[in-house]
Every structure is written in C-alpha cells, then in structure tokens.
C-alpha cells in the first residue's frame, strides 16, 4: 500500500466511522472528524518531500473497472494540499456552525464522502477514475447543497444536480470518443496521441471540458452557481467555492496542458470566456444585496481571472511557465480568501439568521477580531499589495504583457486594460460589502452578540488570515516549487520573477482607484436609495435577462413539446395499427367454426345433428360468458383511468390490450415471422 491510497481511502472510512459514532454521541463524532481531517492533512504534508522534484505514480490493477491509476505532481499536490487544509478548517468551523441545524450526522457523512471524492479527482491519472470521482463528488455534494431541505434549497439542488448529470453524460461521451481514437485511458499516454489527431480532437476536448466548465461556472453554464452557493450551509458554500470550483479549473488545465498540448484555439476560447466571466460576475456582484450572493458572483468573476491565466498558458505555449505558476497560485490564493470570507459571512448568519445587507448593515462595527479577519480576506481578494491576491494578479498581469511582447497584437493591449478594469470591479463590490457590514453605524447591533462569536469558529479564520499574509509577504517561498514544476514538465526556464516593483504597485493602485470611483459614482448614487430612516440598496438586475429561466428553460420546454408531439404522433400511429391488428385477429378468432360445420352437415344422421345442437348450445353459453369477461376487462381498465394524460392512458390501454393472453399468442406469432423475415431478407 502506498501513501496515495491511504490519502484516498481514509476520508472514505472516516465517513462511515463518523456516521457510526455520531449515532451514539455527537460530541465524540465532532472530535473524531476534526482529528481525522488533521491526520489527513498531516499525511498530505508528509508527501511533500517525495514529490518536490518528481511526480510519483501508483497503480492498483483490476479494481474499479479499469484499475486505479494515481499520480501526484506539483499541480496535483497544490490542489491536494488546499483541499486537505480547507476540509480541516471547515470541519472545525462546522462543529460550531451546525449547532442549530438538524440532520448533522447525514451532513458529516456526505461531507467526508465529498472529501474522499475530491481527493480522488485531484489524484487520478486514469481518465475514467477521474470521471468516476468527479461524478461521485457531484452526487455527494448534492446532499450538502440541499441540506436545509426547504423549497429554495431544493430548487437550487435540482439545478445543481441536473447540470452535473448532464455535464457528466456529455463528458462521458467525450471520453468514449477519446478512447476510440487513442486506445488508452491514461491521461499521459492520451496526451501523446491527441495532438496528432485531426479536427476531431476539438470535439473531444470540448465535450470533455463541458463537464468541467459546469463545475467551474464558466459562462453560460454558471446558472446553478448563485443558487447553490446561497442555499448550501455556509461551510459547504465555502468548500463549493474554495475547492469544488477548482476541480473544474483543474480539469480544464488537464485538458489544455496534458491532453491537447497547448492548443491555441482552445486557449483563445478560454481566454475570451474568462473576460466575459470577469465582467458578468463582477457586474452582477455589484448589484446583489445578499452577502452570500455577492461572494458567489465574486467567485464567478474570479474564475474569469483564472481562466484567463489558463488561456495564457496555451497562447504562450512553451513560454507559458510563468502563466501556469501564476494560475496555480491564483487557485491556491482564491481558495484561502474565499473560504475566509464565507466563514465570516457564516458567523453573521449563525447569529442573525439574515444575510441581506440592508438588514445587517452595521453589524460588524466594534467587532474587531471578526472585522480584521474579514478585512484581510477582502484585501487579499482585492489584490492589495502585501496580501496574497496581489502576488498572483501581478504575475498574471506580467504574463499578459509577455503575450503582448511576443505577438504585438492589439488584442492583448485591450485585454490588459480589461484585466485592470476587472480588478476595479472586484474592489467595488468588496467595498460595498465591507462598508455596509463593518463601517456603517447601526445602533441596533451596537456591541451586541460579541459573546456569540466563538473561538472554534474564529481559529480557522485566523489560520487562513495568517496564510494570506504569509504568501503576500514572502511570495518566493511558494513560487519557487511552482516554477520548478513548470520547468520540470517542459516549459522554458523563467528568468526573472519580481513581485514587488514600482510598476506592479502602480497597477494595483490604478485598480483600487477605479474600484473606489465605481463605488462612489455608481453604487452609492445609482444603487442606493435614501429615505427618512436611513437607506437601502436595491437590485436592478432582478428583472434582467436570466439565462436559466429565459433561455435554458424555454428551449427545454420547446424541445419537450416538440418531442412529445412527434412521439404522440408515433404513439397514435402505433396504437392505431395495433388496434387494427387486434381487431383483425379478433375477427379471425371469432369466425364461427360451428356455423360452418352446420352448413356442411345438413345431410348427416339425426344423432350427429343432436350432437351439433349440443355444440351450438355450448357456443351460446360461451357467448353469454363473453360480456362478463368484458366487464372484468373494463374494471381493470378503470384502474388505469387515473392516469393524468390522455397519451399515457392510451399507451396503457394499448399495452394492456396487447399483453392480454390471447393477443400475446398472436404477438408471439408475429415475432417468429418477423425473425424469419429479418434473417432471410437482410441475411441474403
């Protein structure tokens, strides 16, 4: 056995053991879960020396259909590490958050199952294993999304599950195609053959990426995101945004870098989608009033930045080492500050049960610990110098400039400006959130509830805040292994990495300034209404075009209508022919044998005619029985009358008729004849 297998199996075992303990004693279960996730985190940390300079692989043949093939290199390790850390911290946090919720045992069960599946996603080298874990993760996290089981969360869950399953099926089809063309399932081997294929490789790549894009909430597949993040309990939202979103981005990186060998067309597509995501997410985040929704849309906007980074890796090709390290770092950073922000929001929700910023404004005033942690998260997200977001954004900016240098295309200059403007949007919506909660004055909350903010919820936030500062102040410690990794997998060496320079700080300040301007000019003036008792934000985007209800739903409905019309035509035609056939058979079987005998036997002796009379009498009896049988049939049909639609009723009635004993014999005959015809006509 190998450490990799232990990492995969431990959470799976933990889910069941925890469930068992939890049925007896909840306190012990909470303790067990925290210790267990800590052990897992330690396991992941001890793995670091082994993978520092090379990738390690491990094969378990003959299980899960195609064998289990695990691999860990720096990219995968980075993802494993943030998952392990995030789960450890959110488990600790959940023990506090869930006190008032019900079904805690079920929650932890699925919580740990999702953990195991996520670890699996990040470690799989076999694409079927990857798919298995990815789908498993979607299904287990469904239970987390709908944990509250009210109407809203069920709606969100429906959206989440439907898109996950649709994405999974599309992806599976892509995998089938990929296997058909390459003949292998290992991502490494596939990556050697895929780039040599013709245009089919684009079809494969897009199909496989479709599922990942849904998880990564790439426009226009992001519709589930705001609902699911808002509906889920806060620790789950934190994981959804911090880690599960990354599985999507991770998959996109795998497809672009390891399968397609930096294909420029797909890279450009991702780059453009990234820009759309930044702006759509950012603008919608500015409009929202629910804190969780603001952070949810912010996740979408941040995904855009990471997508741009992934796109740049493809555009720069062999020189994209910096872009790759920047993107991985961005993913790590985003996990840290997004989880921190969600945790802060969760504390507010835990106390007030309310998340609209109109109602909770001023809550955070004089709550210094919470305020400082939240501020660190906000500054990290806004890429303020000295915080981790600054490092990744600077490197990404650097990579855009590099792309401009190597191509001298105006496109990259324009996108550079858009990138800075996108940073401004981030600052604007975060400013709105922070000012509303922590700066504004509201006597209702003045200094209250301080005692309800418990240490166990604050400690994880403190750890994350410290990490954010560490990465911000000493960026080289984490950059070095990432850059080594980029060189190790075949990128050109990266010569200069300088995070803090006058230029980078200038760009950051420009973003900040744009953000403040947007806040002052648009948010305060256009989105804020003042009245006697104070003021309130309103959300103009509620009436806007909604992709899900205005586009996807009608298309699905129209498709459904069309199909049901076509199918009802086919059905009716089938039933019609079936009825014709059935009537025909009935007529054949009703041919009165006795009367035909009657006609022929006029000359037979008296005894025989007496016998025939007897037969005739029997026939009369049979006729009398007939209506009774019909009554019974009618009664049985009554049972199906409740069927709602006419069509269903017709199908049931037709099916019932076809399967009655006498008709089934005719059916048997038809099938035999059909088989003979099939074999003889097609065979010759």
């Amino acid at each position: 056995m190998n450490t990799l297998v232990y990492i995969l199996i431990l959470p799976l075992l933990g889910a069941f053991i925890g469930y068992y303990i939890g049925r007896k004693n909840e306190m012990k279960r909470d303790l067990f879960n925290v210790v267990f996730t800590a052990v897992e985190l330690l396991l992941v940390i001890t793995l670091f020396p082994a993978i520092k300079d090379q990738a390690i692989e491990y094969m378990v043949p003959n299980i899960m259909g195609t064998g289990l093939h695990l691999k860990v290199d720096m990219l995968r390790y980075a993802m494993l590490f943030i998952s392990a850390l995030a789960w450890f911290l959110t488990t600790m946090y959940s023990t506090q958050y869930l006190i008032k919720k019900k079904n805690r045992n079920r929650y932890y069960f699925f919580f740990m199952l999702t953990y195991a599946m996520t670890m699996g996603v990040f470690m799989s080298e076999n694409i079927i294993n990857l798919f298995t874990f990815f789908e498993g993760m979607s299904l287990t996290s469904y239970a987390l999304v709908i944990h509250d089981e009210d109407k809203y969360s069920h709606e969100a869950g429906k959206s989440y599950l439907a898109m996950a399953i649709a994405g999974g099926l599309v992806m599976l089809f892509g995998i089938f195609l990929a296997f058909d063309y390459t003949g292998t399932l290992d991502i490494g081997d596939m990556g050697k053959i895929m780039p040599t294929l013709g245009d089919i490789r684009y079809v494969i790549a897009l199909l496989v990426m479709f599922g990942f894009m849904i998880k990564a909430s790439v426009f226009p597949l992001h519709t589930w995101l705001p609902k699911a993040y808002t509906a889920a309990p806060t620790p789950s939202s934190a994981l959804l945004s911090g880690i599960l979103l990354k599985t999507g981005l991770f998959g996109i990186i795998i497809v672009l870098v390891e399968l397609m060998n930096f294909d420029i067309a797909i890279a450009l597509l991702l780059y453009c989608l990234g820009i759309i995501n930044i702006f759509l997410g950012g603008i919608l985040a500015i409009m929202q009033r629910n804190v969780k929704r603001i952070i949810a849309y912010s996740s979408m906007s941040q995904t855009g930045f990471m997508l741009m980074g992934i796109g740049l890796v493809g555009i720069l090709g062999k020189e994209g080492g910096l872009a790759l390290s920047a993107t991985i770092l961005y993913m790590i950073n985003h996990a840290f500050f997004k989880i921190l922000l969600f945790m802060g929001t969760g504390i507010i929700y835990m106390i007030l049960g309310e998340l609209s910023i109109n109602k909770i404004s001023g809550f955070g005033r004089k709550k210094y610990k919470l305020g400082i942690f939240f501020l660190i998260g906000v500054l990290g997200l806004c890429a303020f110098p000295g915080f981790n977001g600054f490092v990744s954004k600077t490197l990404l900016h650097e990579a855009i400039l590099e792309a401009h240098h190597s191509t001298h295309h105006i496109f990259f200059t324009v996108t550079e400006y858009l990138f800075i403007l996108g940073g401004g949007l981030t600052v604007a919506y975060m400013l709105k959130l922070f000012v509303a909660i922590f700066v504004e004055n509201n006597p209702e909350f003045y200094g209250q509830y301080n005692e309800q903010v418990h240490k166990r919820a604050l400690v994880p936030m403190g750890i994350l805040a410290a990490l954010i500062l560490c990465i911000g102040l000493f960026p080289n410690a984490i950059l070095e292994p990432l850059i080594n990794y980029a060189e190790y997998i075949g990128f050109e060496p990266i010569l200069h990495v300088k995070v803090y320079s006058s230029e980078s700080i200038l760009y950051s300040m420009i973003s900040l300034l744009i953000g403040i301007l947007i806040y002052q000019l648009i948010i305060r003036r256009k989105l804020y209404v003042k009245h006697e008792t104070g003021g309130a934000y309103f959300n103009p985007s509620l009436g806007w075009f909604n992709i899900e209800t205005d586009l996807f739903d009608p298309i699905l409905k129209i498709l459904y209508k069309l199909f049901s019309i076509v199918f009802s035509l086919i059905d009716n035609w089938l039933l019609f022919t079936a009825k014709l056939l059935a009537d025909g058979f009935k007529r054949i079987s009703d041919v009165d044998i006795v009367t035909s005998i009657n006609r022929e036997v006029k000359w037979v002796p008296k005894e025989a005619s007496l016998m025939i009379k007897g037969i005739n009498a029997k026939a009369e009896d049979l006729k009398n029985i007939d209506p009774k049988m019909k009554m019974e049939e009618a009664l049985e049909l009554e049972m199906f009358k409740e069927q709602s639609s006419k069509l269903k009723e017709l199908i049931v009635r037709g099916h019932f008729k076809m399967t009655s004993i006498s008709n089934s014999i005719f059916l048997f005959g038809i099938v035999v004849v059909f088989c003979f015809l099939f074999v003889y006509v097609i065979g010759n």
Binding site: L169, F176, D180, K648, I661, S664, C675, F678
Partner: protein, 492 residues
Amino acid sequence: MQNLIKLIPLASIMILMLFAFVIPLLKKKKHVYKLTLVIMSLVTVINLIHVVYIALNGGYLFDVGHFPAPFGIVLRIGEVESGIGLLFCFINLMVLWYSYFSLEKEIKSNRIGFFHTLDFLLLASLLGIVFTYDIFNGFVFLEVSTLAACGIIVVKDKKANIKAAIKYLILSSLGSGLVLMGIAFVYSISGHLSMSYIHEALIQNAEGKHNLILISMILFTVGLGIKGAMFPLHIWLPDAHSSAPSPSSAILSALVIKAPIIFLIKVYYLVYGTTILSGTVVLDLVLFLGVLGMIFGSLFARSQKELKRMIAYSSVAQMGYIFFGIGLGNKLGLIMAIYHIIAHAVTKACLFLSAGSFIEQTGYKTIDEFKGIGKEMPVTLGIFTISSLSMIGIPIFPGFISKWNLAMASIESGKILLLFVLIASSLLNAVYYFPIIINGYFGEDNLVGKVFNSKIRPVRTLLPLIILSVVMVLAGLFSGFIIEFIGRGIYI
C-alpha cells in the same frame, strides 16, 4: 480428491432434487426452514470450493454414469458454468434466508413446505441447464424449470397470480415447442445430441443445408428468447414478477430468466460455432431486439405506478443489455453479457427484496405512497439506493462496469451509434429510479407524519440483504478479476 471435486456439479443437482422431496415429509415449519438453509449453505459451500478448484486447474468434461460422450450425458464445466452455478446457489441461499423472516406474511403457512420443494427443484433444473453439454438434457431441465417457476408464482393463490402463471405457462410452452423443433432440426442434420458432436457434424455437412441450420438457429433464438424475456416477448414477465411473493420475484428475476440465456450462448457457440454464426445475421437480430428492449423496457417502466411492476419492467431493460452484449458478437461483448448476468442477478435480487420489505412493512404498493419512506426505513432504502445506482450505471458499481465495457465492445465492433443507445438508456434508468430515492429521503412535506426508524425491521432480518448489497459492491470493485475469470472460459 480431484474425482470428488469433479462430482460436485452432479452432486449439487442430486442433493437439491433429493431434498426437494424430503421437505414435504416434514411437519413443522421450523424444521423446513432449518433443513433448507443447511442444505443450501452446503451446496453453496461446495460450489465455492468447486470455483476455486476451477480457477486453479481449469475446466473439464464429466461423464455422467461413466458412459462416454455420444451415448451418455456429459456435463461441461468451465469457468463460466462454475461461476454462474455459484452465483445461483449464493443468491438462492440469500433469498431463502430472507424469506425465513417474511414468507409467512405473504403466503399461507401450509404452503411453505411446497414453496421450498419447488424452489429446490427450480434451482436444480437451472443448475442442470447451466452445466449440461447435452442439448436434449438441457431441454428437459428447461421444462422442469418452467413448471417449477409457475409453481412459485402461483404459490400465493390470488387471482392475479393464477392469471400471470397461466400466461407464463402458455408462452413458455410455445417457447419450449420452438426449442424442441430446433433440436429436431439439428438432430436431423447431424444425428447427435451432444453439443461437440453436433458441432463437428454441422461443420462437415454444412454444404447445402444452410437453410435448415438457419431455421434451427431462429427457432432456438425465439424459443429461448421467450424464457429470457427478449423484448417483444417479455409480456409474461411484468405480470409474473410483480404478482409473485417477493422472494419468488427475486428468484425469478435473478435466476430463472438468466439460465436460458446461458443455454442460448452455449447453443450459439458450442453447437454452431463462430464460423457458422458469422455467416448469418442472427446475432444482429439479437442485437436489434436487445436495443429495443433497453429503450422500451425503460419507457414502460417509467409509466408504471406500482413499485414492483416498475422493477419488473426494469428487468426487461436490463435483459436488453445482456442481449446487446451477445449481439455484438465479439469476445468482449460476450464476456460482458455474462458479467452483466452476474451484476444484474445480484442487483435485482437486492431491489426486489428491499421493495418487498417496503410493501410488507407498510402495506402500500404504488410508488407515490412510498414518499418519505427513507425516514421510516433508512437502511432498507439505503440498500435500494445502492442497487438502483448500480442499475443507473454510477461508476464503481457493477452496472457501470458492464455499461462501460459494453461501450468499449461496441466501439471495438465498429458500431459507434450504439453508444447513443447506451447513454440514452442510462438516462432513462435515472429518470425512474432517482425520484423514488429523492422523494424517499428528502423533501420536507414528504416526511410529514413519518417517524424515524418506525417501520425498520431488526438488522438481524436485514442481514441477507446487506450481504447481497456488499457482494454487489464487491462485484463492481473487483470486476477486473471477475472479467478475467470469465474471459478464461469464454466460448469464443
């Protein structure tokens, strides 16, 4: 020692037949249960030993009564036969164990001995069908199995059961008639009844007798297709499976429709052989009907209101997968057909027994009435959930393994369009299984008035179900070994 082990196939048939007639002599129900469980465990254990022996030493031919082949009856025991034999014994053991706790609630207590007699006869004849190398011997066992199966349907004497049993009897007799005619045709060409001898004779005299061979092939396909619920001839299945008592439904769905398919595969590959088969389109016919079954079985299942009927129609769809695998005509397809026989047998037994448990504890029948059942019977619905996930084809579970490999097999044989059928049928499966699970576990208004764990049976009585579901998950996890084992003994 070796000779003793080689006696096991015949011995298990004989033991079962013998004790089938001992059971009616016992007066007390308790004795009946004890005796049957002991005998079934014994048979299962010796079959397990047998499988281990086969895995180490490979297959062999066994002459019954020391008469050599053309005159005496021969059993052909290979990897596939021994594996399927073990599967049948194991599932029957689990079902009987389960019925120990529930049978009396479904049928009259004076019928219990009768039920066990029939069950033993049924299992013995099914094992006979699987093991035999003699085509007429197979037919005889087929007839015994039909009658015994009718018996375990009608053992719960309600009107619906009698009607269903009559329907099954009539259609099955028609099928047996065709099989007998097929045997007659084959005998008239070759003059033999033992499969290997027929094969040699057919290869030598194939000239000019092409049509006769083709006719016999179609007769076998349709005749055995009726017993194996091939799509348009499945019409007896939903009535029979849904009206029978739950243990009977599990046996019918898991075992009775599987044995004729093993026989069909044997007829195809041991009697006719690949050379004759590849010159005809019979396999394409099987593929076509299999595809129809996969789609329409699921469509019919979707429109059902009764839970057991829905599961029965789902069997039709799953049998479609098996015919699909056979119809592809390549090695992987055939292996997966047999793997799916194993996967479906274990899964469907779980589904029927857990559905039976719902019905027995609540008294309800339709799907709508089972909303919120997860609050009352969480473990049972959990088993139901795992099994239906396997039916849908969620990775790790055996259902996914067979779907995946069937997809691989259809790619291998160059029929890419079939992938759409596979994906569509998975989707359809999801459409009718998921609502039951989701409505069972979640939804505030579904759970109103339900009390946690109120109707759950003691874990002791659920143990056979739990063992079955664990075995199902293991069959998915260690599918590599199973597939490799089947592949060693496959007939191509």
